[in-house]
Symmetry: C2
Subunit: 208 residues, 2 copies
DNA sequence: AGGTTAGTGACAGCCACTGACAATTGACAA
DNA sequence: TTGTCAATTGTCAGTGGCTGTCACTAACCT
């Protein structure tokens, strides 16, 4: 059982996160001040910065939860799976179980709306991409370990991850401007784009 | 012939850019204030912001010059070349002619040092990655046009560009931590990584 | 030469963020 | 319980990036 202090902290953090997401998705990121978020939870601005290193961290916190879960999922894939297959399955499974990860803080729908705010807000997109670089490094390590390779000697783990991440980014970007909001659409796009990599790398595009 | 006013403006901008790069590469980006840059050129802080939308823009301005040139180079590649080949040649040619693009502002060596500052400064890396997203969109358009395809109907242009950009990012990242500073090293890594994409995508990595 | 326009400096102000210190509140033992 | 310690929070003051405004000067144009 958790101590009262810890529960209180958790509640404050959740409240701040909820308020932030609420404001970001309605009013927009830039047009929301940290003071407003703090005021909505009735804490001081200083307290906000004790829970989040910056305004952007609050905006990315939800996605961060799912990203961490994704990396774990890759690590947990059966070792005999080829790298790209393991990555693919981990993402798709991630979208299937997104609700379980997020529902304790916000409903899935709000998560998706926040995702679109990130994608359409330059500073947030930038922060998101920067974080992705770190994730890629983690993934490369996982892949190298799965295949029993030395990350510094063999470029393939990093390359596979780079290609995969590039495709995922293209998918996110496409989805974020798609009129169809739903999870099914993301799943479909993910599969479609991953299947498209092979054909796209072929020299001759006339045969499709 | 340019007007005096325009020449003066150009000189002010160049001076600001030079001072900024000088300070960023020596003192570091975060530890350099806009006031210091402005003071080094003896203009007001306000004037700095009339030339650069933000401190980061001054830090990315050099790379921006080469990026624009790169996109043009892709556009100018012979139409019969497959997309990935055109992209590859354009990058490699870009590194060959980097000096011509940059020398009017700073020596190449300083350009390369600035590149490393970007790569190692979180906020700059973030801004750089965000800009790359826009570049990818431009490239996708160029590729689609070259191949006579509709960008909204066929995912292959975006995919090819996404894969290419992913690999380029991995290359940059690798180079930025390499003890070898030189241009040759970048060229070698670029070729190596591009050649590695095929093998990395294969299911079975045991055969190499 | 004289009116017009572009570029600049000075100033005031917003907002994100940080350090320091004091006040409060929960944890835990006597 | 109660007193002590430690964690959490609020307050305050300050820095740095960035913007709007306005008056002033220098370049342009006829």
């Amino acid at each position: 059982m958790e101590t009262l202090r810890e529960r209180k902290k958790q509640r404050t953090r959740d409240a701040l996160l909820r308020a932030a997401v609420e404001l970001f998705t309605s009013r927009g990121y830039e047009r929301t001040t940290v003071d407003e978020i703090a005021a909505a939870v009735d804490v001081s601005q200083r307290t906000f910065f004790r829970y989040f290193a910056g305004k952007d961290e609050a905006a990315l916190a939800l996605v961060e939860m799912t990203v961490e879960r994704f990396v774990e999922a890759v690590r947990a894939r059966p070792p005999h799976e080829p790298p790209m297959e393991a990555l693919r399955q981990a993402v798709l499974d991630g979208w299937d179980s997104i609700n379980e990860v997020v529902e304790s803080v916000v409903p899935v729908e709000r998560y998706l709306r926040m995702y679109r705010v990130i994608e359409s807000t330059p500073v947030l997109l930038a922060a998101h991409l920067r974080r992705s670089v770190e994730v890629e490094e983690d993934l490369a390590r996982v892949v190298a370990e799965r295949e029993g390779l030395d990350l510094d000697a063999d470029p393939r783990p990093r390359l596979a991850v780079a290609v995969f991440s590039g495709v995922m980014r293209a998918t996110e970007r496409q989805w974020s401007t798609d009129p169809d909001f739903g999870l099914d659409r993301i799943r479909a796009l993910t599969s479609l784009y991953l299947d498209g990599v092979g054909p796209a790398l072929l020299g001759d595009w006339r045969g499709a």
